[in-house]
Amino acid sequence: MMLTMKKISTFIILISCSIAVVAQDFDKNIASAKSSYNSGDLENTRFALQQALHELDIVIGKEILKELPTKLGTATYNEKDDNVTGGAGMATGLFVHRSYGEQGGSSIDVINNSPLINSINAILAIPFIGNSGDGTQKVVKIQGYKSVLNKNENETTGKTGYTLQIPLNNTLFTIEMEDTNENEIQSLANTIPLSKIAQIAQ
C-alpha cells in the first residue's frame, strides 16, 4: 500500500515537473510569436504559434492522463508507456495513450481531431450497420454517449477481448481490453469521467 502511494506521488511529481517545463516553452514561444509579429516577420510568428500549439497539446494530453484510471479490471497501468503526442492541429491531432497489464494488451487511447471519428459517427447513425448479425459489433450507450462495441477473438490465446469506441465531440475515446466480457468493459467505461475528458480535449 505504501509502495503504491509512493509510486503515485512520484508520478504526480514527474507530471508536475514536465508541465512546468512545457509551461516555460509555451511562454517562450508566445513571447517569440509576439516579437516576430511586431517586427513584421509573419513566417516566424506562424512557426512560434505552431510550436506553442504543440506544447498546449502536450499539456492537454497530460491533463487527460490524470483523469484516466490507473487500473483497468485487474490490470495495472504501465507508467513508462504513458504517451502524449501533440499534432499541433495537424490531421493526426492530439494522441494520448495508456497501456495496462504486463503485456500491455489492454489500453486506453484518446485521439483529438481524429479522422476516425467520421467513420464511427457513420456507424452510430445507421443502426443496421452498427449492429452486426454475427454479434461482433453493436451500438451501446456509455454515460449517454452512443458508442461502438467490438468483440475481438484472439486465435492464439483463445481469449475474447473487446474494443469500445466512444466519440466525444471531436475526440475519440477508445478502450481496448483483452480477456474480458462486454459487461465488464462497459461498467469500467462508466467509471471514467468522459465528459470531463471531452471538455479538456476540446
Binding site: 500549439l53 495537424m90 490531421a91
Partner: protein, 258 residues
Amino acid sequence: MIKHLLIIGVAFTLGLVPASAQILNKIKQKASQKAENALEKKLGLGDDKNTNNPGDPGAPGNNPGNKTGGGLITTPPDVMQNIADAQSSYKSSKYGEARYAVQQAMLGVEMEIGNKILNSLPESISGLKKDASADQVTSTGFGWVGLTIQREYNDNDDKEFRIMVANNSMMMSAVNMYLSSGGYSQTTGGEQNWKQTKLKGHRAIIEYNEGSGYKLSVPLGQSSLIVFEGVNFASEPDMMKAAEAVDVDGIKATLGEQ
C-alpha cells in the same frame, strides 16, 4: 293505372341510376379534392391560386426568403488580442481555450501571409488583367495544413490565367511522386500530355489537357506548391512566359520555405 305506375316506376329508376352515379362521382371527386388539399397543406404546397415560390416572403406555409444581410465580416482575427487571450487562458489552466486562441492567432497570421503574397503578384500577366473579385485566401488555422491563396487573370473573354499557392502536404506528395517516380517516364512518341520542366530554376511539371488547357505545378521547399493554370494559351512557351512573370522566389521566402 297499374300500367301508369309501372311506367313511372321504370322512368324513375332509369333516371335515378345515372343520378345516383353522378352523386357518387361528385362525392368521390370532392373527397379526393379534400384529401389532396389536406396533403398539400401538410407538405406546405399550395394549389394554383396559392402557388408561391419557396422564397416568397409572407407566403402562407412558406419560410421567408432572405433579402438582406450583407454576408459575413471577413476581417481576419486580431493576432495580438488572440495571443493575449491564449496567455491569460493558459495561466488560468483553461488549456482548451488557450488552444483555440492560438489557433485563431495562427489563422490571422496565415491570412496576412496570404494577403502579402496576393499583393506581391503582378497587376497583369500576358496582357490579362487581374480579377480582384476572385482573389482568395483560405486558411484553416491548423499550421501547415491549410493555407491556399488564389488569383485569377483574364481578358473578359475566354483567355484566363490562374495562380494557386498552397501550403498542403497532401498535394505536395502527389507532385513529388511525379518528380521522383520512374513510373511516369517521358515519352517521345505518341501524345505527350505532361512533362518535367523548370521554372526559374525550380523543378516543375507541366501538363496539357484539351479541355482545361495548361497546368504548371511547381513545388516550393518542404510543404508549398504553386499551381499555374492557363486556359486558351497559344503554346507551351506562352504559358511558361506567363508563369515567369510571378516572383516565385519571393513567394517561397514569404512562406518561409528553404
